[in-house]
């Protein structure tokens, strides 16, 4: 089995899996029917991407494992999503800030992944770019609305950006699988996305009349499977049925 490629795919897909799961918690509880529909839709897009990635990963693994085994039967330390996406839905400002800080990265990443020598990954990227361009517009618009809305919304949005900023740098850390895949022309060199990322993020924050956080202290660990305490609970729900009723078809 091509272990590096397998690990590499998990590194991409786990972000969508965990963020999709977070958004799924909100369905039916949004501040308006329109935002409820949009967040559910983003969750759906992300899970659709996850299925494509994990089906491919299962094929590479070449044993009997399925997309669901990969999604739902790993242990806490085996999930390699970035810490950003597992942060909880504290309020709508946090949900949108988390989305925005991920979407800007996600789109830049996919635009590079589309050039991959691996045709399956390239095809998944092409399809996902259409979806993620919409996500980015949606979350970016909400950053502007809440930042440049009322005093209350501005304070909440600033608080969310400040709180989540510490998780942004990890997006640009390279794992061993990353390095190997970049060398083969399959993977994306995330270190090269960093400058454009912060430029784009800062532009929108400025337009939203928000302060760009100055803190240079960043958290990391997700990519090595060392997560915040929030992930365990998310996994408990995600995995519940597969753990309680093992080896069954649904």
């Amino acid at each position: 089995m091509k272990q590096n490629l397998y690990n590499y795919i998990l590194g991409i897909a786990d972000n969508s899996l965990i963020l999709g799961q977070r958004l799924g918690e909100l369905t039916g509880h949004g501040p308006s029917l329109e935002t409820d529909i949009a967040c559910t839709n983003i969750s759906l897009d992300l899970f659709g991407q996850v299925r494509s990635y994990f089906q491919y990963a299962a094929k590479i693994a070449g044993d009997n494992r399925t997309e669901d085994d990969i999604a739902m039967l790993r242990k806490e330390r085996e999930y390699v999503n970035v810490l950003l996406v597992e942060q909880p839905n504290r309020d709508f400002a946090y949900t949108m800030a988390r989305q925005f800080l991920f979407d800007i990265y996600h789109l830049l990443f996919l635009q590079e992944l589309e050039k991959s020598k691996d045709l399956t990954l390239s095809a998944i990227a092409t399809k996902s770019i259409k979806e993620v361009s919409y996500h980015e517009r949606f979350s970016g618009d909400w950053i502007k609305r809440l930042g440049d809305g009322t005093e209350v919304s501005k304070a909440k949005m600033q608080d969310a950006i400040d709180g989540l900023w510490t998780y942004t740098d990890e997006l640009f850390h390279q794992t061993e699988a990353d390095k190997a895949m970049v060398a083969e022309g399959i993977g994306v060199d995330v270190t090269k996305l960093k400058e454009t990322y912060y430029k784009k993020v800062n532009e929108i924050l400025e337009e939203a009349t928000l302060e760009i956080p100055e803190s240079k202290w960043f958290q990391k660990g997700g990519k090595e499977g060392i997560h915040t305490e929030h992930l365990g609970y998310l996994l408990a729900e995600l995995q519940y049925m597969q753990r309680a009723y093992p080896n069954m078809e649904w």
Partner: protein, 318 residues
């Protein structure tokens, strides 16, 4: 307008309905027609929105990615149905905020079935199969109702509902054909959802207060009891097909009527839930009111932002 003129308009109006013409938002209509439509359409919209909660309850715990995606899509469809039904309602001169107020204050009703809890994954199957199944029976005739915006909304709603119902049945079928434990989950869900689904088609004809007028306006085309019989006759063979037992010892095929006879419905339970004392009434309202109140600052910000943007645009124009 004189009384005679109004009478005249009413006669013309009833004649249009009798000719199967559609009534459109700008047409003249009797006040009672408008009110009755607001009541029924908003009740339908509220049911879609509250109905998102019991199913949303299983999104994070769906057993496979395929099921999770299907469930998300289904709940999203329900939000979409709520959206067009509220919009259709707005054509009658009432705002969405007013309609929400009526829901949150308890003045407006929604389908009582959503006041039951979804306790296992199998409930996602049972709700789709039975609840959406009963809803379709209620709603298909409304595709030809007299009020144009409602009729058109229902065409789309019914298409999606029938897809949901098949999806629910497929979940049940998979469970019923699965391990003994899965089959038990399916049977348990059927046991809990069967009677509430029968009640969902409304009180018996003798107790139904809105039937006569609604029939005239084609807001209703069959009586509650007829719809209920149709639902039972359609659903019993489906249960048999997947080897599940309908929890009614009195259920028996009646050769003469070419229909199933069935046991007595517990109408006390029905009225208890309608009056707000079902297992989940309070939680459902708390979730809806909570989402609305917690979202207020977001909606305010969106309005404030839009106004600022507009003001900047005007300034630029000068």
């Amino acid at each position: 307008m004189s009384e005679e003129q109004i009478k005249n308009l009413e006669v013309q109006f009833e004649a249009r309905i009798a000719r199967d013409e559609k009534i459109e938002p700008k047409d003249w209509m009797p006040e009672k027609y408008r009110k009755t439509h607001i009541r029924q359409m908003s009740q339908h919209a509220h049911s879609e929105i509250v109905g998102m909660l019991p199913e949303g309850n299983w999104i994070t715990r769906a057993p496979s990615l395929r099921r999770k995606v299907a469930l998300l899509a289904k709940v999203q469809d329900e939000a979409g149905h709520g959206l067009y039904l509220y919009s259709a309602c707005e054509t009658l001169g009432i705002s969405r905020d007013e309609l929400y107020d009526q829901l949150h204050s308890g003045k407006a009703k929604y389908s009582s079935i959503f006041n039951y809890p979804t306790v296992t994954w199998a409930d996602m199957g049972a709700v789709g199969w039975l609840v959406d199944g009963a809803a379709i029976i209620n709603q298909v005739p409304l595709c030809n109702t007299s009020y144009g915006p409602y009729a058109r909304a229902m065409v789309r709603v019914c298409k999606e509902e029938s897809f949901h119902q098949r999806q629910g049945f497929e979940i049940m079928m998979k469970l019923a054909n699965g391990t003994p434990e899965q089959k038990e989950l399916a049977q348990d869900a059927l046991n809990r959802w069967w009677w509430p689904s029968l009640m969902m088609l409304g009180p018996t004809d003798a107790e139904s207060i809105h039937t006569e007028q609604s029939m005239k306006w084609k807001l209703k085309r069959k009586s509650n009891d007829d719809l209920r019989q149709q639902f039972i006759d359609q659903t019993v063979p489906q249960a048999e097909l997947i080897g599940l037992t309908i929890p009614d010892p009195d259920l028996k095929w009646n050769e003469e009527r070419q229909s199933y006879d069935f046991g007595e419905i517990n109408w006390d339970e029905f009225w208890q839930v309608v009056k707000g004392h079902g297992p989940m009434n309070k939680e459902r309202m708390k979730a809806r009111v909570g989402a609305w109140e917690e979202g207020e600052w977001v909606r305010d910000a969106a309005m404030a932002h839009a106004e600022k943007k507009q003001a900047r645009k005007q300034k630029q124009a000068i």
